[in-house]
Amino acid sequence: MTRPTAPRSDDGCAALLARVRAALGRDTPPRLPDPPPPDDALLRLARPGDASAALFVERAREVGMEAETVEPALAAGRVVGVLREAGVRRVALHDDAEDHAPGLARELAAAGILAVERGGPAGPRALFDADAGVTGVLAGVAESGTLVCVSGPGLSRGASLVPPLHVALVRESRIVPDLLDLWPLVRRSPGAAAASSLTLITGPSKTADIEGVLVTGVHGPGRVRVLVVTGS
């Protein structure tokens, strides 16, 4: 990977800051007061007491994802069942899927479903050959039915985007009630806080650009299957 450092003296940033300061009517940077803190009472739409998994499944369905709960021992079998049902032969697999659904690699192999090559010369383009992406997620947000995906080693950005079907595994213990509760969890999770890409996914890829008619699967997956692994 090349990471050339651009010349910084003429990148325009110093001139921009000077113009901003002039417009604000001061010459030197002020001491920055604390910003008004986000007001929990105004913003919160789900409380810690809310039954998170049930609410999450309900809201995920409302935004157009197919969501269900599954016991840990049955998770791998359920993933393979979902893939077979959709006629999937090649998957883009996240490394963390196995942790969410123990035995997944073995069951996939037994079902004759292959994982596409990763990190090869084709790079992300290999994902274009996959029929489905199977990923764990960092967290779920109950209030909006949102999946939280972070990039990292073995966690490609494209697995949840490029194939026409995304199968997402969510640990029940990682469901937070409200988006407000997500950021502390992100900061606690190794790798997530400094991830190059963090994506909130709330529904299948959709558009209503042509006469307001809703069409799913415009660029990304038209179907998102969410499996909430209970008690994990």
């Binding site: 901003v20 274009f128 209030e143 209503a208």
Partner: protein, 514 residues
């Protein structure tokens, strides 16, 4: 892909002739149906979604969101400095551009350095503002708009007419014709099939592209992140597959932290499209790390000024709070009637009517602040509590003060001001006005055009349909009502005894309008 030849809808001669553009739009029945129907639907969706989610808290939340943005703008220098430092720490390369031309030049330099040939681009208002697509194409970089609406507009050589729904002014038949003509596919007007044709076409472009260009909905100062909100997923392709990603973002997009970002995420999609969140909200922090499978090797962030520091003055600063949700467009009775192109600028609707004159010059866009009835629907719809009507009247005052308005208008306003100064001048002016208008109505008055109207309004001479002088501007478009036989003051004097008697509110009775 080259757009079709022909004048670009937003390449308007200056000063912009809003009256002519609005006249054309108001005669276009199809346009009014598409835009009117779509905006009403969106406006209703926004109200219902916000009420369901926030209930009584909604108004306080809008003020809160406005206060956070205002704080960020009040200290924009410090937040920019922090953002630039954190973004660099994450490995992104940060540039700043004073003008549209400079911003495009920075992007072209990046493309040249990497020898880029094919660019996939996601929807971005700031790149519309700078004309980046044309600049890239001129420099020999094939550039494809990937948002479905923008893709269709590019095929048709057309321009977006709505901040969120760029092709709100087109119907499915127009899309079918454009696809048949430009992509060589069999004509269909089925939205699902058209969308799938675009999907297959664009997948090939994503696969081959070596440059991805995006805008940014937010910049997070604490982490140096660029945040992109999309529904289609094209933004994720543009920022994830090509080896170079360039994000062009206005300097007003800053928020202090991820927690503050949450405030705006909760409002943006609800206000724009009645969704809890856009389908994809992507937080990009630097290029891919060495141990990652995908993502760009280089991320460039171009911070664009292009007139924004001019708006940062105290009097107009709150306009930079705008998060481009499009709610004020959908709520505006004027936008609903004339659509976006009539505004002659990338930013249309109420927010366009106040920021376009500020960004591109009041003299060239002096008609825009008048494209409003000051009904206040935009203010009520704004999730960051921008008092748009106040800015419309402020700009109207500037138009008079800076003598941009013609001498007739200024003289008229001066006379009006004199008439309002004392009670007797007011009475005199009102008497003279009634005298002239009633005489005029007897000469050129006629029945109402609307036969369903009440009898009084239906009698001959009730409406003036061809006024002379300054009244012509009104009667060109609609009739002007002739004054009633008795003025309100006369009526009041007779009904209530003496008009100068001390005022008392009489329970159960309401005044009759003159």
């Amino acid at each position: 892909m080259k757009g079709r030849a022909g004048p670009h809808p937003l390449d308007v001669p200056l000063p912009h002739d809003l009256r002519a553009a609005a006249g054309r739009a108001s005669r276009d029945v199809a346009l009014q149906q598409f835009v009117g129907g779509a905006t009403l639907h969106k406006d209703r969706g926004r109200r219902e979604t916000c009420r369901r989610a926030f209930g009584e808290r909604y108004d306080a939340l809008r003020r809160h969101a406005g206060a956070i943005k205002q704080h960020t703008l009040d200290h924009l220098d410090a937040y920019l400095e922090r953002f630039i430092a954190r973004a660099r720490e994450s490995g992104a390369i940060v540039h700043a551009a004073a003008t549209a031309a400079q911003a495009n030049e920075v992007c072209l330099a990046v493309a040249r350095r990497h020898g880029c040939r094919l660019c996939v681009k996601s929807k971005s208002m700031v790149t519309e503002e700078t004309g980046l697509l044309a600049a890239l194409e001129t420099a020999g970089v094939e550039t494809v708009e990937t948002d479905l609406g923008e893709f269709i507009l590019q095929l048709d050589g057309d321009a977006p007419s709505h901040i969120v729904t760029p092709m709100i002014h087109k119907d499915r038949a127009a899309v079918g014709r454009a696809f048949a003509r430009e992509l060589g596919v069999a004509y269909t007007d089925d939205p699902r099939r058209l969308t799938m044709i675009a999907r297959e076409h664009l997948r090939e472009k994503y696969r081959r592209a070596d440059l991805g260009v995006s805008g940014g909905n937010f910049l997070v100062a604490d982490t140096g992140s660029v945040v992109l909100c999309t529904n289609e997923g094209n933004g994720r392709f543009c920022t994830g597959v090509p080896r170079v990603h360039v994000a062009m973002v206005g300097i007003e997009k800053l928020v202090p932290s991820m927690e503050h970002l949450t405030v705006f995420l909760k409002l943006l999609a609800r206000s724009g499209t009645a969704q809890p969140l856009t389908v994809y909200t992507q937080v990009i922090t630097g290029p891919r790390r060495p141990d990652e499978d995908d993502g760009p090797d280089e991320v460039h962030i171009i911070l664009v000024d292009n007139g924004r520091t001019g708006l940062l003055r105290a009097e107009s600063r709150e306009l930079l709070r705008c998060i481009r949700c499009g709610a004020c467009l959908n709520a505006c009775p004027v936008y609903r009637t004339i659509g976006g192109h009539a505004y002659g600028s990338v930013y249309s609707g109420p927010i366009g009517a106040v920021i376009t004159p500020a960004l591109r010059g009041l003299r060239d866009f002096a008609a825009l602040p008048h494209a409003s009835s000051l009904c206040g629907a935009c203010f009520e719809a704004c999730p960051v509590h921008i008092d748009i009507p106040r800015h419309l009247t402020r700009l109207r005052a500037q138009i008079v003060e800076q003598r941009i308005a013609g001498w007739r208008e200024r003289a008229g306003m001066r006379l009006w001001g004199l008439a309002l100064r004392t009670a007797w001048t007011y009475r005199l002016a009102a008497w003279a006005q009634r005298l002239v208008l009633r005489r005029l109505a007897r000469r050129v008055g006629r029945r109402s055009r609307d036969s369903a109207r009440a009898d009084a309004a239906h009698r001959p001479g009730a409406w003036i349909h061809a006024g002379p002088g300054p009244l012509r501007a009104w009667t060109q478009e609609r009739d002007f009502p002739a004054p009633a036989a008795r003025s309100f003051r006369q009526w009041w004097a007779r009904e209530r005894g003496h008009a100068r008697a001390p005022r008392r509110d009489i329970p159960g009775q309401r005044g009759t309008p003159a």
